[in-house]
Subunit: 384 residues, 4 copies
């Protein structure tokens, strides 16, 4: 497997909005013509992707009639089938239309909250028709510019109400969805509620049906908060809540960059890929990124190919890392330490309190982490 | 109440390490002589504080004999009594000694993990002797410089093991502690596990006795991750987990500054105080900050007084905000909207799906949040 | 002067693009209808502003004919006159059109560079017709997503070429412009060349006519790099280069927020206003911000009024600070120290080397900066 | 050159304070025993370094007598000679002693300012005795926690006074020093004056002898401000001011991490090495970093070796990048565009104004930067 070519078993997926991104930004106009969804499917198939995801309005205009909607969904499903493309995940756009300027599930206006839930139910219907089993919710407008407008604990209650209702809808319809909640600290709101994957993991435990709901961590969003993405993913995984993942890249402390996976910091990307492969994550590897504005659609295809290629390169390096004899030896030395006794858990408190520890001796041993990290760099850079 | 003088009912507390901070930093030596704990108690009493908190080693040298330890605790308790100072919270230092350079509860070496738990149990004993009912845990060394050294899901398991053991110890000893976990994203480690209050809220739900464990959010630590502290506190509060709080100040995206409360961004401090007072938080208002290195101990007292004074000024402003007729009217207008029907929760899905919404109308109404925020600024700056 | 009402002598100006901002963002559509430039002038006049600034394309569509252009300029000038509104500054939009996706003055394509300069010359012509004497240049697209595309030293040479050409054009046309260069670290490019005011101050010294060129620091842009805006402004002022200023607000480490002046951090805003007033800065106080997306045009007016009101409140507080007797006394104490001898500059090296200093004594005196800062907070919050 | 072994011609240097760093941090004690300067020289020689740099007090205690000082310098020089180690740069510690808690050259107390200059002169003497020709100045304490304490324009004047005096001293003593100024945005002060390399480049132009003064950009310090280090270096180089460089690594938006070169973000390090090698920078490659606290002195040696090894790996990759035929072809395509005419500089304004540009055509061509960046990633990861 040294050709780094994407194959269906890698489960690489892209949103319609990623390759279809036209390059509009806060200071600039679109630079690429509209890419029809069916053409996006073809582009992705040519690039080697396995799956395509979508917001309701990536596919269906917000004002479409029921008949138009049905036709569009049918044609899209046919395009997917023709291109052997699966639709693993669906989501809903609760941020673009001005109606959501004060939030969607957490807007002060109950009409807006009700509309947001209705729109989500309809997006769930679409997802099911296309075969999606994962439903992502990114609450991009659930936040504030001034905390004068509402108490955040009220917002949390409204968010919970929406999630509980949607879980109930999924069950009643027999949809079998897993929901994956996607955190972000800010942008487009000055502050967004549920700013980190950790916040969502905590929130989930307060729902009526926590087992139906997990998270969708995104590299860029965790990096925006200056967090270690792999650590966030590990907490989600350890809690059984890694239902989906958004791969891209981002320099910390900036606007949402959505760069090609691994292109901003390949070492951070390496640890992330290694973790996903080591634990056997079996869900989609979804790339939520977009091409530079300097690109035409050939460049967009380069971008999509690059995301998958870099993932596969890093995956191979993870295998190499695990098999490296010097690394294994260094880890064994740590492991030997780790294995020497069961720490303290089997001790009664009195027994543990009676133990003597030689602090100075424990503190004096070099742990060789600089060596371990340099070996990692050597493998990453391909000189080992 | 316009003298802004601290009184016992305000429950203002400081750590021994805050007024006792000698100004050592990564690039500079200590600038103030050692302040004996009993003198710190006097200084705090003079400044008007109600409580004093401590790490085990703020009070008792790590190598003290049992006899020395008993004498020190006794003298300290007497000093507290003599100065009518309470000890609401105790904690343990698991970061200063070199033995913890690879972590404490999550160190690879099981001896270190066992020692960390033993040290914590002893610190719990001290706290109980001094009357503390809250036990804070800040895992400053629980993290990494390189993710080569251990898998973070393993670290989480070790962290859980420690918390479960300590809860058991508290119960078996009849200690009646509430644990409050304090998150921080980085520093002194390159990355710290459990980087945000949200991460800890999620972790707590995985413990054997979640009802015994809550959080201790700190302004500086949430700001370091660029988060809105008040939102983090609100999530903790809404989940019934706000067991303690660390008040100070911090410009986002920097080293841990631990500045005087309200001195970096008084508007963020205002929303925080307003939330705590509005919801009726009844725990200690603990200041975890320290004086500039330019100060002698008179300046340290100015610093301590300033923390409390600014809190009280902001508390009065919160009252004024709540009573402001124009603000009330603007909120009522929002509230009127909010009250117009019960959103959607009582609707059957079919009923909700059948509802018609006028998106354009919903999106067209000015929400007057700029006005609301400017009125807040006016109140904050004392011109209204 | 306690009504905080804006007056012409305050020189408050706004860009057409600020009150005319329709609320489009990376994730959302415009929320307000188009505001015609002449209506923006009326709105600003009603709000109490003195001046209005503009990019060429804020006023004139990029594809306008010469006749349309002349008519539009004429009508706009008449509207300004009718509303007693001045046009102190003009600028050029080198970022919105797709032609600039790779940069303007620094694009690899020489045709684009030439077009960018031509477009700037035409914008200078418009500015002159409207009476502007300051020409701002913000190079929003002068940067990269990947440093593979060009060497940054080449980009600097192209930037210099453009500035030198434009200075020459101004002179040859007898335009008497001062250019003010506006730095920004990132967004919309992953990295922007000349990321800080300091970088531009250095660059200016390498131009053919440095005396014609200064800077236009913006609060949000310096805060995005985590810098102290007032310090950046002070360096520009001290170098005689503060030709213009962009006032708004921004939490560090985020996307470009352009919030109402003083609304994110009123204390930082206070130091800035105090500096401008203390040194006697006599240029425009330009607000480069926009209203929240939740607002209609009444809210936009609230936003504009709030910017000016907060400036005037802070200006009054600066006066109060300077007149405060305790502050004066604390400063005098510092000043007394400062005045005690001429430091070292008049000493010969041998003399200075021979001097003895009592380090311990110099280090032991409390400098009372906590007190000084708390007095500042008291004044800021209006309780002193 | 594929063994990646350091050789004298690579000019790799380390500060005494880097390998001698004992791992003290704001929350923890030293973890390694003191390393005598002569032993540090041996360690560096064994690791393969060419040069060693020092602060005065890295070598000589601040309270040493003249006789002790002479003996220490002599012994150190002998150790350097015995180990074929050069001392290319010297610097002065103006931050550790409490006397500098309010600044050094910019402290309010004129005695402190005079002492700081005297101390620097003596450090210059030491440097000369050891053969140093570059004198670095990092003003770690030149800043504030509250801007109440002094006006920053006054601080700039004092900074200028110091630099002018020191230049004069260097000339009068016949020292032939080049000064290299090192910027940092914050830590250990809340804000440091001259926060970026750009700010110093501007400041230098205001000195009496600007030709004697350049900059010493540091990766970590520019990253702390979220800036692109290579861009900062390029501006310094283009201005003829890159007199020295501090190589290390740092995740943006955090405390000063001083990580092993290339270990936080190898792609950013690649662009930096490529720039230095492409332009023919011939000064020292100085590593200003330190080993993790988990390491003993064997680990410190691993750390030092890793810094140099990674530099050499990246240098080889830069050569490979420059020689890659597909990259050359893509660049030629860009270059072809670039060469097509001389942009506009030879045109008279009237001629340029008369030119017609086809915006749509110019904006439509895909620039293939995604492809170019992915080829860079492939080379960086060693799969091309």
């Amino acid at each position: 497997m040294t050709d780094y070519m994407p194959r269906p078993e890698h489960k690489f997926s892209f949103g319609l909005w990623t390759v279809g991104n036209r390059g509009r930004d806060p200071f600039g106009d679109a630079v690429r013509p509209t890419l029809r969804p069916v053409d996006a499917v073809k582009l992705l198939a040519e690039a080697g992707a396995w799956g395509v995801n979508l917001h309701d309005n990536d596919l269906i205009p917000i004002d479409a009639t029921a008949a138009e909607r049905d036709r569009i969904v049918r044609e899209f499903r046919e395009a997917c089938e023709a291109n052997s493309m699966t639709v693993p995940m669906a989501t809903v756009n609760l941020f673009y239309d001005p109606v959501f300027r004060d939030g969607a599930f957490t807007a002060n206006d109950p009409q807006v909250r009700a509309f947001a839930v209705q729109k989500t139910m309809r997006a769930m219907d679409i997802g099911v028709e296309l075969g999606a089993r994962i439903f992502v919710l990114w609450g991009g407008r659930e936040g504030t510019e001034t905390d004068a407008c509402r108490r955040p604990d009220q917002a949390i209650k409204w968010l919970r109400e929406a999630l509980n209702y949607l879980c109930r809808y999924s069950i009643e319809q027999g949809y079998d969805y897993k929901f994956a909640l996607e955190a972000k600290p800010n942008e487009p709101r000055a502050d967004i509620y549920m700013p980190t994957t950790g916040a969502y993991l905590a929130f989930i435990e307060t729902l009526d049906r926590p087992e139906m709901v997990g998270v969708n961590p995104e590299v860029a969003h965790e990096h925006m908060a200056g967090l270690n993405m792999m650590h966030s993913v590990a907490q989600a995984w350890e809690a059984g809540k890694l239902f989906h993942i958004d791969l891209n890249d981002q320099i910390p402390g900036r606007y949402d960059q959505d760069l090609r996976f691994g292109s901003a910091n390949p070492k951070a990307a390496f640890w992330l890929v290694k973790f996903l492969e080591d634990v056997g994550y079996s869900g989609p590897r979804h790339f939520d990124a977009h091409a530079y504005r300097t690109e035409d659609y050939e460049g967009v295809k380069d971008f999509a190919r690059g995301c998958m290629r870099t993932y596969l390169i890093l995956k191979e390096k993870a295998t190499r890392w695990n098999a490296d004899s010097e690394i294994k030896s260094l880890l064994a030395e740590i492991g030997e330490i780790s294995a020497s006794g069961s720490a303290y858990n089997k001790d009664q408190p009195a027994t543990l309190l009676a133990r003597d520890f030689d602090r100075a001796a424990l503190a004096s041993k070099g742990l060789q982490y600089e060596r371990l990290d340099q070996l990692t760099v050597d493998i990453l850079l391909g000189v080992r």
